[in-house]
Amino acid sequence: MALTGVLRPGHAQLRVLNLEEGVHHYRDVLGMVETGRDEQGRVYLKCWDERDHNSLVLREADQAGIDFVGFKVLDKATLDKLEGDLRAYGLATERIPAGELLATGERVRFRLPSGHDIELYAEKRAVGNGLQVLNPAPWTKASENGIAPVRLDHCLLYGPNIAEVQKIFCDVLGFYLVERVLTPDGAGNVAIWLSCSHKVHDIAFVEHPEPGKLHHLSFLLESWEEVLRAADIMAMNNVTVDIGPTRHGVTRGCTIYAWDPSGNRFETFMGGYQPYPDYEPTTWTFDGLGAGGGLDYPQRKLHESFLSVVT
């Protein structure tokens, strides 16, 4: 099997200013499935076609933003090995006991030099996607509720030291660089898209002075028509839209950026292409991000909110 090591982004915990408004947004408008609530009051959701118990955890707090992103790894031996590798690289790691997140095994947490907490875990209870594993139907009632993305796809995080972050993901965790945007002087990167799979990104970063910021959490749709339908559903529910529906030049993904009721940006996304680790990374100049259509290919401009509005 070719896909080993880190498999995919498996969960993210978001801070929301009002829990029930957040639940309404992610469950009823985005159309995720609520799978549990814990004694801390956190609410757990998954996309309909995801098989593990949860991919999004909502925590009520007095500040918006992201608490952590977790990646599922192949098995417990992989978890132990990657923890050793992170320590050998010089990062401090912490073990969070199984069950601290519902239906989730032990997690290894570490902090990136960008200020973000990242977790690795090997176990999360499979609850299935509502279809039989044997001779399944192609879709289910839950796939028709709200925007109904199929999975948590990736996130874009903002913080300092992304050159160092890239090294950790690529040299220790086995990711590879898919695309990047150069600094205005061309000497470094202002943005990087990293993959641990066949996806155009499993996580991405933009260089930003404040640590630990969230730009967006992205959810995958299967067609452009579904992206347009998502736009209709957002409008019907007074969701504030940032950009789109449009296409990113970077990754070629078709997209809408919009905000949840606490101001956390989320994306409904489809498309892109299927990169391999041996591909030469696609490079955008800083001007290419705006006037070159990297951010918004048809509009060819750097929307002001892209570099300035984060939580």
Binding site: L17, N18, A64, T240, W259, G263, N264, S308, T311
Partner: protein, 105 residues
């Protein structure tokens, strides 16, 4: 019936209808540079200080408005709903953008 909002920094006035946030109504001025961010009280780009009049507020991120500031009437305009005519001053990023030279308007 709406209320009238006065931006002290620029002398501009605009109307705000019940249930509408100070920010959403301000955007109808059609001016470039009014920072329209998340409209959810999370990102902090729309900070103002209420100098006269009364507002109710929704949840705002403490990363951008401390309890002290809130008590002094420093708020996020996207989560402030006027109850009477209001005067306000624009702060932070809001100030930089709203008070840009008129040529940019």
């Amino acid at each position: 019936m709406g209320v009238n909002v006065h931006i002290e920094d620029t002398g501009e006035r605009y109307d705000c209808v019940p249930g509408e946030s100070l920010l959403k109504a301000m955007l109808r001025l059609g001016r470039r540079g009014i920072p329209s961010g998340c409209h959810g009280g999370g990102c902090g780009v729309c900070k103002v200080e209420i100098t006269r009049g009364a507002v109710t507020t929704g949840a705002m991120s403490r990363a951008h408005v401390s309890a002290d500031e809130e008590a002094r009437g420093c708020l996020l305009a996207c989560k402030a709903y006027p109850l009477s005519d209001v005067s306000l001053r624009v702060l932070g990023r809001m100030h930089k953008n709203v008070c840009r030279p008129a040529a940019k308007a």
